[in-house]
Amino acid sequence: MASLVGSRVERKEDKRFLTGKGRYTADINIANQTYAAFVRSPHARAKIKKIDTSKALKASGVVDILTGEHIAKDKIGGLIAGWAIRSEDGSEMKCPANPPLAKDNVNFVGDPIAVVFAETLDEAKAAATLVNVEYKVLKAVTSLSDTMKSEAIHEGIDKNLCYDWLLGDRQKVKEAFDKADKIIKLDITNNRLIPNAMEPRACVIDYNTASEEITCYTTSQNPHLSRLIMSAFGGVTPENKLRVVAPDVGGGFGSKINLYNEEIVCSWASKKIERPIKWVAERTESFLTDTHGRDHITHAELAVTNDGKFLGFKNETIANLGAYARVFGTVTPTYLFGPCATGVYIMPAAYSNVKAVYTNTAPVDAYRGAGRPEATYTIERIVDKAAIELGIDPIEIRMKNFPTEFPFKQTLVHQVDSGDYVAGLNKAKEMADYDGFADRKKESESKGKLRGIGVTTYFEACGIAPSPVVMMLGCGVGLWESAEVRFNPTGQVTVYTGSHSHGQSHQTTFAQIAADELGVPIENIDIVHGDTDKGTFGMGTYGSRSLAVGGVAIVNACKKIVAKGKKIAAKMLEASVDDVEFKEGEFVVAKSNKKKTIGEVAFASYLPGVRDEVKSPLPEGEEPGLIESSFFDPANFSFPAGSHICEVEIDPDTGEVKLDKYTAVDDFGTIVNPLIVEGQVHGGLAQGIGQALYENAQYDESGQLITASYMDYTMPRADNLPNFDIGYTCTKATTNPLGVKGCGEAGTIAATPTVMNAVINALGGQEISLPATAEKVWKACKEMKKSNSEAA
């Protein structure tokens, strides 16, 4: 049997998803269910003076209305930040309480205040409009740069400052800067994004009055974590009485890592009203209340020599947390951002200083790439600026500063196990026909267009590990992953994983791995995930961790199966265990033709006896059955890296930017399924390009989200994108037996600076802020024309 790892196996999921047979949370209906509609704050910041539900309670079909008073009375806890960050001065971060329903204060437009349960959705929505809330409206804090000077929005949190964090050595950086020939300076705004999963958030709650169990179907990337938080922090019900199921989930991108108010409220309320509850977010609710991403302002400086060697780097960043600190909200701009801000380069000295602040906007949390896109954008933009100011080719300046020996101790935190950055950049340069750019530029100019080329080289740190280090740095949980492999007596295999697929195609990739390990046809392997009642505790899917952590747990559990199988096969074949070899699904006795298939061994393990004889295939002391589990905690992160090059063509008359060519060369270590990896790269690129050219979440001064629909929030579309040229280099990860590195976020991390570097190249080096929209680019084109004519 040929190895499946490395082959373009078509997705097992395709039939279900392409024929409309997916089963999403909103597809689930429970007999006698009620419908929930939330009353939300229309103000960004206000005190709640009074909530009057009397009129709404009398409305048609209303079952009950609950408010923050009820939440407080039942002592239901709120949402939490999952990672404790300490400030440079040693003080602990400051987080406000975030009750599931606001009782006294609201802090962003969309903050939930009350919930109506009614017999029909229309009745719930109609009654919600009758809940009368009296507010005392306060001045909202929305400008990131002014936040620390503004009035504190949470009592006891001075300057709206959650923490003021430092990673690195200020003194060393100062010394490095003192030696520099030149200091390159850059101010950037990393624009706020709204994740926009295709499936809006939803939950369906079923409380069983007899067993007192709550089943919560929800749109989550990590159902076990949701259960843990809801139980341990929410106090909704003990963990053993709570089942969380995340069935098919239509995209998460980080926004569905968090447990949300709606799930806590509906789970608690289902028990209270003794009825099932269904809630599905409307698109506008998703825009307003899903966690947003990015939103930094950064001042960065790079110290260089005249011949382009980097001596030191620093950045001062203000990161917007939004109104409340959420699960990965506090770690995203610190440990996921700071270490990667020095890029792939040898950087003798560096520091990252991040001030995370609260504003009256939706909470900001991990969004595809989480911290690493912001970091990569910072370093890759300033490296390009250095290239421009020093008059060095952007590829040359990068090559000059690459590490060439691995493992490579990166400046701030990471010990990068493997990589070959030179090979990656050379390959990208060749695939992109970098040397032919001048001709293509001329051709564009002959049509009256501008053309630019942009380069990015990145590394990123994903599959966060190991748990003791992660927890030492402040994480509330360990970031291992679990797997359980179960043979049925008749030889098929069910693999339970703690990872969660919401577009990553685990049912295919994981089955490929298990098929190779067990020698069982892929058709006979099923992957089960997303249900706390099935399989062991799992940590879920985010941060490109599923394959490098969850996939390896599957490998390890399979190895345990094989080890046990070997013992059984040896007994059955009357051979010594040491003489039994396992190969392609068969246990073979060395130098003989005696063998048993793994299916036969599985069968024997469940039916350990024979007719007319007392005889067991199980060795002395071995238990029946063939089920094994594994918890894998990697020794380190995985460090994918790559080089991306793109070209843009600009119409100077309108400022419209056309992305013309895009080449991505990535090193993901071993590639299990190239078809699926390509899909991940394509999707990641689209989102990174979206940030560069289109997407921009904007609040007005009063804290109203003015991009709360697809009429105003620009998503990248198929016709905005060229065909991507995808290539790979491969240096295997040394920290896991598969040699794999994460691939889910790479495209998003690399694409934004690649596109912006190309736009800025086309504009003759003029700085332009994210996103490069037509009007901004048009103005820059006019400036360029003006300065060109002045120069002439």
Partner: protein, 262 residues
């Protein structure tokens, strides 16, 4: 959405009979349905006029192209008659929304709604259109479009057809809003024997006839003819997608593109 009575009517008479202060007419429903879903429009009676046969269809007399009000964008885009007589109008229809919108949305609906960023109103202005209504009125386009989402249609009055004067040459060019793909600026240029019209959508609260551009192009039909024409930013829309100043400049840029593509 609040409950309502749905009426599928066979003729204008029946439609008028049901029409009241609490009713709305429904053709493609591309604006009416979403606004009802959002609670912006609530009606007792929704009168579907798509069943009125005489309101649909395309006819050309050589001088005039007549399009029935419930003719869909897809029908206009595909029509041999339109492609032959005013190809730019077929191209405009092909550029509205997406296939679903083009298969449902109607020309009459678009005109009656008078969205400031809709494409068709600029065609009506440039192509000397007359709007024929159930009140036996024949309204010329410039007086028909009164203001933002506002026309001179009276309550209960239904657009029956639109007459477009077939030009010598014409073209429509737009800068689409990257999010909604509505026109940030859309410019329709139509050249006639006795002069050129320039209909502009997206730029102001209501579609308008840019007489300065029209005058310059009437003198000399070439893109350089408008190089020195001033398009003022005053009165132009300004939003997160485009400032008034940018829009004013784009009116000229897209007028030139349209002339060059004629």
């Amino acid at each position: 959405m609040k409950t309502f009575n749905y009426h599928l009517v066979k003729d204008i008479k029946e439609a008028k009979k049901i029409s009241s202060a609490h009713s709305t007419f429904l053709a493609g429903g591309m604006t009416t349905i979403p606004s009802m879903k959002l609670g912006l429009g609530t009606y007792k009676d929704v009168i579907d006029i798509k069943g009125i046969k005489k309101l649909s269809g395309i006819k050309s007399s050589g001088k005039i192209l007549k399009i029935g009000s419930t003719t869909t964008h897809a029908e206009v885009a595909k029509s041999k008659e339109v492609k032959k007589s005013i190809p730019s109008l077929a191209a405009l229809a092909e550029g509205i929304g997406d296939p679903q919108v083009r298969n449902r949305g109607t020309i009459g609906g678009s005109i009656a709604n008078n969205d400031p960023a809709a494409d068709y109103p600029s065609a009506c202005i440039a192509l000397n259109a007359s709007i024929n209504t159930s009140n036996n009125r024949k309204i010329d386009a410039e007086s028909f479009f009164k203001g933002m989402f506002e026309t001179t249609l009276k309550k209960g009055e239904i657009i029956e057809s639109i007459d477009f004067e077939i030009p010598q040459k014409s073209n429509y060019q737009k800068l689409p809003n990257p999010a909604s793909r509505y026109a940030v600026v859309g410019v329709y240029v139509a050249k006639y024997k006795n002069g050129t019209n320039v209909g502009v959508t997206g730029a102001k609260p209501c579609v308008y006839n840019d007489k300065n551009l029209g005058k310059a192009l009437s003198k000399s039909f070439s893109s350089s003819a408008i190089d020195n024409v001033n398009v003022s930013a005053s009165g132009m829309n300004s939003d997160i997608h485009a400032s008034a100043y940018y829009r004013a400049n784009m009116v000229k840029v897209f007028a030139k593109k349209a002339v060059e593509t004629c």
